[in-house]
Amino acid sequence: MTTDNLTSNDILKTAESLRWQIGREFHDRLMEDIYTDAARLADRAVTRPDEKPRFDLDRAIDRIVTSRTWGFPMMILLFTLVFWLTITGANYPSQFLASILIDTMVPILHNLANAIGLPWWISGLLIDGMYLATAWVVSVMLPPMAIFFPLFTLLEDFGYLPRVAFNLDNIFHKSGAHGKQALSMMMGFGCNAAGVVATRVIDSPRERLIAIITNNFALCNGRWPTQILIATVFIGGLVPAYLAGIISALAVVGIAVLGVLLSFVVSWSLSRTVLRGEVSTFSLELPPYRPPQVLRTIYTSLIDRTIYVLWRAVMFALPAGAAIWLIANITIGGTSLAEYLINFLNPLGILIGLNGVILLAYVVAIPANEIVIPTVLMLTVLMTGVNGGAGAGVMFNAQSTSDYMSLFTAGGWTLLTAVNLMLFSLIHNPCSTTIYTIYKETGSKKWTAVAALLPLAMGFIITFFVAQIWRLFAG
């Protein structure tokens, strides 16, 4: 037998020469054959009603929601309805929560603190700082999310959202993104952290990263109040009273639309630069429609999304509240820390058409966009000494449009400040809850840094150019 004389070397040699003969792509071929065999076995074993057409109702609905005529109008109508319900519906519970958590509870807590003889700085730090910031975040954040998320989840559960992705995919495709980014973007209008989590439905790594990084350009629920307030006070004030409402609403919508456009532009450039080599695949399953399970949906959307996001926000709001109170109350040589910081930030703020107060508010409000305006008001009072504040380090909201206007005027605000604040509120780093969520979702420090710093840099550049060009023409 010759085989006895074969050494391992001979075998290796034979193998090496044989491997050229097995043909191209044999791995693929092998895999395909295994799949095909499995499919054949399944087809033989599973009996199904012969050539049953897709369930007719599904088809009828699909014909309408993806039709050339009705597809887009229906989509716009539905989402307008969702946003309208959220914004108007959240107003009353928000006021109610604020009146209980802030107007009622804060005096009670102060009395309690006095009764047990807490030093002023402990009660100040705990109540005026940490408690107040948290109460603020909860009362602004909770009601819209408790309305928006269940509504959105109902649409998702019904099977409509994948059709939206189907309708819009072409636009997203052109900017190098996935149609399902439409969904995470919508979710981002509720909360960017939830939007980032929602990108899990995108299974292609590159498109998912794009969706995560650009989610911040969806104007989130914490920033709507800022936009609406500034637009009402400044933009609405430009036109006759009967037009004020509509013009300021248009200004806010304009900002939101600008955000959507920016997310397309950023998606486009990301997919062509830093994300070029990432793996990209596309497939979009359109599941059958089914009656939404209303109660279960409300329950899970409250637990999974609302409470989850709220919890994280509270965890970040507590230290933020403490920091705000501390910088306003720690004084060095008779000047508070906040004043030092504001004077330090002022030149940069003025350069980009804002001011030191706003920049400092954005620094301390990294944990939650909701507290930007209360912080701005508190710091303005601290700096200018005008009457109206509730004390150093205590955040507050003014009572009426004219109260806001007089405070802002005292702080030296102009129309340019307002416009740039609206722009900067849209284009700056995501809140710390979102940044943390991005880190958890991507598991990468690099992409987290890109997601945080890219919008910040864009915000500085855009507001800078707006401010300089404005000054060039407005003198």
């Binding site: 090496e16 050229w20 191209r24 693929d28 895999m31 993806t66 887009f72 793996v279 059958p288």
Partner: protein
């Protein structure tokens, strides 16, 4: 407050400077990175590769041809060659430039690294075909033999690179792809593309733009000194003979390959051309579709024999939803064009 005009011009200048420095591919940073690679070792490795390829094709490498490949002057090239001779990589004893065994081994290592990296780019990343070669050209010099071996085993020891070139084994074995230029294929004989020459890059980009790839069935319709007209995968293509000669084909042999990549037949088509409402049977997935995308298709159950119906098209025109194994799946146009089907008429006849 600074004067707005001055501030604007300073900022614009700074932005412009950043763009000049960091613009992808063309910025100074990218160029500097690129230039760093053009050192002597890289040049000598490129020269080795060139001489090896010339020997394989039976051409004579010259000082001029080497200088052209490594982008250097004739003087510098001569200097480089004499250094290589000192290192016993080449010999020029009989007036011609030859590789020594050590030189051949070094050249094969570079080629192996290059082709493996191209395979990696094709399978595991989202870079476009036209970019594979350039990227591999840069990385081939950076990989050590150990890294190359590791890469090979990670990729499952592939045999061919995505252009159809065989990848040398670790012990330096290499066969040729065995094709002939498309221009030599007799009229009407069915053939199959086995290789697309990836150099020069401009020519390769044109072949890619035509949608050609190794494994594609072809048939010549017309051939003249001005143009080559041929069918490939159900489409008519027209190329200058210079371009067509960069395509290598084999006359269609009867092999197992026919099962998945059926020979050219008049009733084969691609899925993107299936009209809404029509049924078709899948013949296979194009060889061009690789890596994650191919696995995704198989996961969805797009396999030879699967029946697919085009159900509806997005109002914005692009993704089309297909019924695949009772599920409604939307695929983009460019993806559907990778799935070969039997034409719906054939379906109706049965």
């Amino acid at each position: 407050m600074p004067d707005p005009l001055i501030a604007l011009s300073i900022a614009t200048g700074l932005l412009g400077l950043t763009a000049v420095l960091f613009w992808p591919e063309r910025g100074l940073w990218a160029r500097w990175q690129h230039a760093r690679h053009l050192n002597e070792r890289v040049q000598s490795e490129d020269a080795l590769k060139h001489i090896y390829k010339c020997e394989m094709k039976g051409r004579r490498p010259t000082l001029e041809s080497i200088a052209g490949v490594i982008h250097a002057s004739l003087d510098n090239t001569a200097e480089l060659l004499s250094a290589m001779e000192t290192n016993k990589f080449v010999s020029t004893l009989d007036g011609d430039i030859h590789l020594t065994p050590a030189g051949r081994e070094a050249a094969l290592h570079i080629i192996r690294a290059h082709r493996l990296w191209e395979h990696y780019l094709a399978e595991e990343t989202g870079f476009e075909e036209a970019e594979w070669h350039g990227r591999a050209e840069r990385l081939e010099h950076a990989l050590t033999p150990e890294q190359v071996d590791e890469l090979a085993s990670q990729l499952g020891n592939p045999i061919y690179d995505p252009h159809g070139d065989p990848i040398p084994t670790a012990s330096g074995q290499l066969i040729s792809h065995g094709g002939q230029p498309l221009t030599k294929l007799p009229l009407g004989t069915p053939g199959r593309i086995v290789h697309l020459e990836d150099e020069p890059a401009i020519v390769y980009a044109q072949l890619v733009a035509e949608g050609l790839y190794p494994g594609m069935p072809v048939r010549i319709i017309e051939i003249s000194s001005e143009r080559v007209r041929f069918w490939a995968n159900g489409d008519e293509h027209l190329l200058a003979p210079m371009l067509a000669a960069n395509i290598s084909v084999v006359a269609e042999p009867v092999t197992a390959e026919q099962e998945t990549e059926e020979p050219l037949s008049p009733d084969s088509d691609t899925l993107n051309r299936l009209p809404i409402g029509a049924y078709a049977e899948v013949l296979g997935i194009a060889n061009k579709c690789r890596g994650a995308e191919r696995r995704r298709f198989m996961d969805l159950g797009i396999l030879p024999g699967t029946k697919i119906k085009a159900e509806m098209r997005s109002p914005s025109g692009d993704p089309t939803a297909y019924i695949i194994r009772d599920a409604l799946i939307a695929l983009r146009q460019e993806q559907a064009s990778l799935i070969r089907i039997r034409k719906p008429q054939a379906e109706a006849q049965r």
